[in-house]
C-alpha cells in the first residue's frame, strides 16, 4: 500500500540538506513504519536525487520518523536551479512509496 494511507509528512530545508518528517496516523502503525521505512528504502525511492548520507531519527512519543537527506538540494534554495528549490514537494513524493500493509496484529 502507499505510505500516503498510513502517514502524513512535511518537508523542510536547511542549506542543501532536506529533511522529511513522516508521522503515522495510527500510533500502532509506528513499529511497522520503523521496520519498513529505512534510509535505504528512502534512497531507492529518490533515484535521481543527488543525495549524500541519509540519516533517520525516531520520535516514538510522536510516532514519527525524521529523515535528513544531506546534499539533496543542489546547493539549497539560494543556489539551486530547481523549480522546487526548497524541496517542499519531497514529502508528498515520499508518500507515494509502496510498502507492505501492516498486519492487523500490531507488528
Amino acid at each position: 500500500m502507499r505510505l500516503h494511507e498510513l502517514a502524513h509528512a512535511r518537508s523542510g530545508d536547511k542549506g542543501s540538506t532536506a529533511d522529511i518528517s513522516v508521522i503515522a496516523y495510527d500510533p500502532s502503525h509506528f513499529p511497522h513504519l520503523r521496520t519498513h521505512l529505512t534510509p535505504d528504502r528512502v534512497r531507492a525511492h529518490f533515484p535521481d536525487l543527488p543525495v549524500g548520507p541519509i540519516l533517520r531519527y525516531e520520535v516514538p512519543s510522536l510516532h514519527a520518523l525524521k529523515f535528513v537527506l544531506h546534499d539533496a538540494l543542489d546547493g539549497g534554495v539560494t543556489r539551486s536551479l530547481s523549480l522546487d528549490a526548497h524541496g517542499k514537494s519531497l514529502a508528498a513524493c515520499l508518500l507515494e512509496l509502496d510498502l507492505p500493509a501492516p498486519s492487523t496484529s500490531k507488528d
Binding site: 500516503h4 502524513h8 512535511r10 523542510g12 530545508d13 536547511k14 542549506g15 542543501s16 540538506t17 529533511d19 518528517s21 508521522i23 496516523y25 525511492h45 529518490f46 533515484p47 535521481d48 536525487l49 540519516l55 531519527y57 520520535v59 512519543s61 510522536l62 514519527a64 525524521k66 535528513v68 546547493g75 539549497g76 534554495v77 539560494t78 543556489r79 536551479l81 530547481s82 523549480l83 522546487d84 514537494s89 519531497l90 513524493c93 515520499l94 507515494e96 512509496l97
Partner: protein, 471 residues
C-alpha cells in the same frame, strides 16, 4: 503603552501566564491574521518573524544603494495595522523586520506611531548581528560552501554580507529597558519568542530545560500559519476549514515552561496534535539536539495533548547546554541566473516541448553562451516531482506541458541572451509555443560559518528611542 504592562493577563490558568502570538511567519506573510491576534488574542507579546536565510543579504544590498532602506517592505503596513490595538492593550511587539537596517526600521515605526497619535512609544533596536567586518577575508571553513569554495576567503570580494544569529539575551535586554517595540536584524527565530519569557519569568542563561521549553514555544510559533493548518491541508485526507481566513497561533506559557498552543476562536484553520507534530519536527534534524544560540533543545520525548478544539498542550521538552559557537549566514555574489518558460498544448505537446528543450540546448552551444549549470524541466511532467516517475514515460499524453529552462552564467548580458533563446522559440521552434515568460537576475547565495561566541556578543547594542524624539 508602558503602564498596562503590569496588568498582565493571566489567561485561563492560575499564576502568571504569558500569552505570545505570532503575527507573521515569513517576509510576505498575510497581515490580517496579525490584526486579529492583536485585537482578540489578549496578548502580552506579538512577534513578527520575517527573515529568511537570504533576506538579510538582499536587504544589505538595498541598504548599500539607499542608507534608509534595507528593512522589510511590509513593516509600515504591519505597524499601521497593529500599533494602535497593541498600544491600547499593552501588548509589546518584537520583530526581526529590521533586516539589514534596524535603525531605519525603528525610525519608520516611530513615524507610524506619530501618525497614529501614539507619542511616547518606546522603540528599541538590537544590532550587532552584522559581523561582515569580523569575518571577511578570514579562512573560516564554510559549512555548506559551493564547489568552488572551502573557506570564506575563497569567496574573496564576492562576499556581501555576514550576519550572526543572535540569541534571546539582547532582545530581553531591550524589554528590560522598557521597550514597547523591539526591532532587530538577524536573531535566531525561536529566540525572538524566548526573549519575553526569560524577561518575564527571570529564567537565567543556564536554566537549560526552561530555555528549551521557551525555544519550543518559539519554534512552534515562528512559522505562524504552519501550525494552524497551513502547509498541512490535503483535501479529503487532512481537511482544514477556511484557509482563506487562517488564524495565526498564540501560546500561553506558564512559569515552569509548560504551554498550550491555540488561536483566536472563530478564525480559520485547525490546531491539532497532528498539525503541531508536523511543526514541532519541521526543519529539525536531530530531534534530541535542536541547536539555537540559547540552548540545545531536546524534542525527542515531546508529548502532545489535545485539550479541546484548537488547543494543544506540549510537555516533555528538555534541554542542555547551548552550543559554544554561533552560526553566521554569509551572502555572496553567485553569478547570474536566467529562467525562461514556454507552453505547448494539444496533441503531441510533450514531444514539441522536448524538441524545444533540445533546440535551446543546441542554441546555447551555437551562440557560445557560457553556461555553468542548466536545467530543462517539463512542468506537468517532471519539474517538481522527484522519485517515482522521474524521467518515466507518462501513462497518458498530457494535454499541455510547459518547458522551463533555468541556467547559471557569468554575466547579466549572457543571462539575458539565454532568456532570448527561450523567447525566440516562439517563431523559430515547434508550432504553438505559448505564454513565454523570462527573468534574469544576479544571484546572491548563502553559506554559513561558525564563529566563537565571544566575537559576536560584545558588538551587540541596544538603543531605546522615544517616538517623539526621532523626527
Amino acid at each position: 503603552m508602558s503602564q498596562p504592562r503590569s496588568r498582565r493577563r493571566t489567561g485561563t490558568g492560575t499564576g502568571n501566564r504569558i500569552r505570545i502570538g505570532c503575527g507573521a511567519g515569513f517576509a510576505d506573510d498575510r497581515v490580517d491574521p496579525a490584526v486579529e491576534l492583536a485585537e482578540h488574542g489578549r496578548l502580552d507579546y506579538l512577534v513578527f518573524e520575517c527573515l529568511a536565510e537570504r533576506t538579510v543579504a538582499l536587504a544589505q544590498l538595498e541598504r548599500l544603494r539607499d542608507p534608509d532602506a534595507g528593512y522589510n517592505e511590509w513593516l509600515v503596513e504591519r505597524m499601521e495595522a497593529v500599533l494602535e490595538p497593541c498600544a491600547r492593550q499593552g501588548t509589546r511587539i518584537i520583530t526581526n523586520m529590521g533586516a539589514a537596517n534596524p535603525q531605519a526600521a525603528a525610525r519608520a515605526v516611530a513615524e507610524v506611531a506619530r501618525r497614529l497619535g501614539l507619542p511616547g512609544l518606546r522603540i528599541a533596536t538590537v544590532t550587532g548581528d552584522d559581523v561582515l567586518h569580523l569575518v571577511k577575508g578570514t579562512p573560516l571553513p564554510l559549512l555548506d560552501g559551493p564547489g568552488r569554495a572551502m573557506n570564506l576567503d575563497d569567496l574573496g570580494d564576492d562576499v556581501v554580507s555576514a550576519n550572526a544569529y543572535l540569541g534571546a539575551a539582547p532582545v530581553a535586554e531591550a524589554l528590560a529597558q522598557g521597550a514597547d517595540v523591539v526591532v532587530t536584524g538577524r536573531v535566531a527565530d525561536p529566540s525572538l519568542f524566548l526573549a519575553p519569557l526569560t524577561h518575564e519569568f527571570g529564567w537565567t542563561a543556564s536554566d537549560w530545560p526552561l530555555l528549551a521549553r521557551g525555544t519550543a514555544v518559539g519554534h512552534l510559533l515562528e512559522c505562524a500559519g504552519q501550525v494552524t493548518g497551513g502547509y498541512y491541508a490535503d483535501p479529503g485526507t487532512k481537511d482544514v476549514p477556511d484557509l482563506a481566513r487562517l488564524g495565526f497561533p498564540l501560546a500561553e506559557v506558564a512559569e515552569d515552561g509548560s504551554f498550550t498552543l491555540t488561536k483566536v476562536p472563530g478564525s480559520g484553520g485547525r490546531l491539532t496534535v497532528a498539525t503541531v507534530t508536523e511543526q514541532l519536527l519541521y526543519e529539525v534534524h536531530d530531534p534530541a539536539a535542536y541547536l539555537t544560540p540559547d540552548v540545545t533543545a531536546d524534542f525527542s520525548h515531546a508529548h502532545l495533548t489535545q485539550l479541546t478544539e484548537d488547543q494543544v498542550t506540549v510537555t516533555g521538552i528538555t534541554g542542555r547546554e547551548r552550543p559554544t559557537a554561533l552560526k553566521a549566514s554569509v551572502g555572496y555574489r553567485d553569478g547570474f541566473l536566467a529562467h525562461g518558460e514556454i507552453s505547448y498544448a494539444g496533441s503531441n505537446a510533450l514531444a514539441r516541448a522536448r524538441e524545444a528543450a533540445r533546440i535551446v540546448e543546441e542554441r546555447l552551444t551555437l551562440t557560445k553562451i557560457p553556461v555553468t549549470d542548466a536545467r530543462y524541466d517539463l512542468i506537468g511532467l517532471n519539474a517538481v516531482h522527484r522519485g517515482v516517475g522521474v524521467g518515466a514515460v507518462p501513462t497518458a499524453e498530457p494535454t499541455e506541458i510547459r518547458l522551463r529552462v533555468a541556467a547559471r552564467t557569468d554575466t547579466l548580458d549572457h543571462a539575458r541572451r539565454i532568456g532570448r533563446e527561450v523567447a525566440s522559440l516562439w517563431p523559430n521552434g515547434p508550432y504553438g509555443g505559448a505564454g513565454v515568460t523570462r527573468e534574469t537576475r544576479e544571484n546572491i547565495a548563502i553559506t554559513s560559518v561558525l564563529l566563537p561566541r565571544e566575537l559576536v556578543m560584545p558588538s551587540t547594542e541596544v538603543q531605546v528611542t522615544v517616538a517623539g524624539d526621532t523626527a
